[in-house]
């Protein structure tokens, strides 16, 4: 089985997936630093880095621009932050065929109140950006940190959901001004539809249905050729240049989610190449399985010259051993059902939050193991 570092070396695009709170952003930055150290022109596309990491990467200023990181590496390192806010406004401004359509969408009551809840815009923007960076040919390695989602797969499925949202059958229903002949005919021909519509009008008010209909009319113009773009990005994601890296922490909840991800990757033909276990409590190197606790206490007490401190140190050690045993068992169980030939990196718990280049460098040896 290869190391994570070897997997990174063989691919031009590395996508870090995983559920929220497992250290995805930090891992993505460390992988990028590793790539730059290996002499490759590298960029990390990040979503919401911790303030100190953003500082370290020179990303205090928002905006979708690549910024050079002073990393003192053989290859260059750039970082780019995706602006989370107003991702839909950006999409609308970018793809509206005319100023009129743009203004009509931005002025729609439903759009204004609900665009914060539209799923998938951030994910879609990240994928568009990835595609652009890749097509530019300016980088040998592009590392992508995915937005925080409940499920690791949401990132991939979001663009398809956008396509579904504008599905032809759905749109055929809505893409007609509400009072047009289309609706009226539908109402007369199909009595079921008529009854549902009457109820809906009672429930939402006619003006709401008019606005919803108008919203779809405008949006459908925005997404001319949208499906083709989604397909193009999907191709890049499934190509041989792309490696998916699943980031997980050794907690039961996270690993259950990660297991689900692993089960899905094959059906979705996602090239899962490596798994990173983050913040793992390491078991001690002592050979015996059952430790003589009294001996450890005596040893500690003698070393620090205090029975009380020795007791505290030993108790702390035993607590960590207990936690470490749990981590090891959970990881072992997880690895049994992982796809074969997937690289594994284990990053220890360390003794601090890692957010700067010095911290990231502490991670590097563990990525190469």
């Amino acid at each position: 089985v290869k190391s994570l570092a070897a997997v990174v070396a063989e691919h031009g695009v590395v996508i870090c997936a995983g559920s929220g709170g497992v250290g995805k952003t930090t891992t993505a930055a460390a992988i990028a630093l590793h790539g730059a150290a290996a002499g490759r022109r590298t960029i990390v596309l990040t979503i919401d880095p911790a303030r100190r990491l953003a500082d370290a990467l020179g990303l205090r200023v928002l905006g979708n621009e690549a910024r050079a990181v002073r990393s003192d590496t053989a290859g260059s390192l750039h970082a780019m932050m995706l602006d989370q806010k107003g991702a839909w406004d950006h999409l609308v401004e970018r793809y509206a065929p005319s100023a009129e359509v743009r203004d009509r969408i931005l002025g729609n009551r439903f759009y204004q109140h609900l665009s914060q809840s539209f799923a998938g815009s951030q994910e879609y923007m990240a994928l568009e950006q990835l595609h652009e960076l890749h097509a530019s040919g300016a980088y040998d390695l592009i590392v992508v940190d995915t937005p925080p989602t409940r499920h690791a797969l949401d990132f991939l499925e979001a663009p398809q959901r956008l396509v579904d949202f504008l599905d032809r059958d759905v749109v055929r229903w809505f893409v007609k001004p509400y009072f047009s002949a289309g609706w009226a005919t539908l109402r007369i021909v199909n009595r079921t539809v008529g009854a549902v519509l009457r109820r809906l009008e009672d429930a939402t008010g006619v003006s709401a249905l008019v606005e919803i209909s108008d919203f779809f009319v405008s949006m459908s113009q925005l997404f001319e050729g949208f499906e083709a773009r989604v397909q193009r990005v999907a191709q890049l994601l499934r190509s041989r240049q792309t490696a998916f890296v699943l980031v997980a922490s050794p907690e039961e909840e996270v690993l259950a989610e990660a297991e689900y991800f692993c089960r899905q990757v094959e059906t979705l033909s996602i090239p899962l190449r490596a798994v990173v276990f983050n913040r793992v409590h390491r078991e001690s190197q002592l050979p015996e399985r059952r430790l003589d606790e009294a001996w450890v206490r005596r040893l500690a007490a003698r070393a620090v010259g205090s029975a009380e401190q020795g007791e505290r140190l030993a108790a702390n050690f035993f607590r960590y051993e207990l936690q470490a045993r749990g981590d090891t068992l959970r990881i072992e169980a997880f690895r049994k059902q992982m796809p074969k030939r997937t690289a594994v990196a284990t990053v220890p718990n360390f003794d601090e939050d890692l957010h700067d280049l010095t911290g990231l460098r502490r991670m590097l040896p563990h990525l190469a193991e």
Binding site: L114, R150, R312, F317, L322
Partner: protein
Amino acid sequence: MDLAHLFQRRLLVVAGKGGVGKTTVACALALEAARHGRRTLLCEVDGVARGAHLFQVPPLGIGEVAEVRPGVFLMAVEGKAALAEYLQLIIPVRRLLATVFKSRIYQHFVAAAPGLKELMTVGKIWYEAERLDDDTGQRRWDLVIMDAPATGHSLQYLRMPAAARDAFGTGLVQREAQRIVDLLTDPARTAVNLVTTAEEMPVNETVAMHRQLCDELGMPTGFLFINRMHRCDFADDDLARLGASAERHRDPRSRTALRELAARAREEAGWTRVNARYRARLARQVSMPIVELPHLFAEEFTAQEVRTLAVHIAAQAGGADQQEERA
């Protein structure tokens, strides 16, 4: 504020960043509420039934209710099922609805319509919080606890009723949305509790979430739970002595043991200091009463650990009477 007051509310939301232990805190709160004599419904949102696992009962189907401990009921809430239930209430024509539910248009629309699932989920929780029992006419639940999804997503849920009210200018949906907003913003009936760990990212999110709750959503807050606190500092001198002693030892086993003792002590001391720093920041920037929960070292997180957290919560937030009773 103490727990007795908190449990007088009808709805408690438990929110926080992914991976900080929201579900375990929500479960512990539910145990305490039941101990206060409140018949409590714990709602898991987004179809993830981790509570069932923690209480060691078989996974629940969507909408299914199980009494997992005396007085603690668990239910998984999911937007699509909640929408179907709601439509059955407002369109009581079974045959017609069956046709609608089966159609591909409906399936696609429900999957993709912005905010619909979130709105229906919160609507269902509101319904349970206000629901009267068919037989007795009494409230079905004394208290409903919503184990919310990760921060960004829980804001989407909590924001939806107001967004829907404003998007639909008139009609039934607007009126119902307004009733949900009324519940969510009423300090006598609702409190949002936040869960975090004392580390950079979760604290950033917590500070931002608190601000949005207060300024944008106008929602009343309850307790701030700082979870997984490391609280065992070791003097640098002692760490140095352990290291020096390790180098002096000839016996490789003793040498390894001393190095490991030092490494684990450094790990614990390091996190203790990180936690103390961010706890101080939380105290400065988030004006909510704090409950500190220790990091529980365990091979596996089980019902026993949930119980332990509940005891810690009672000890710190129980109010004077409770603390005496415990003592």
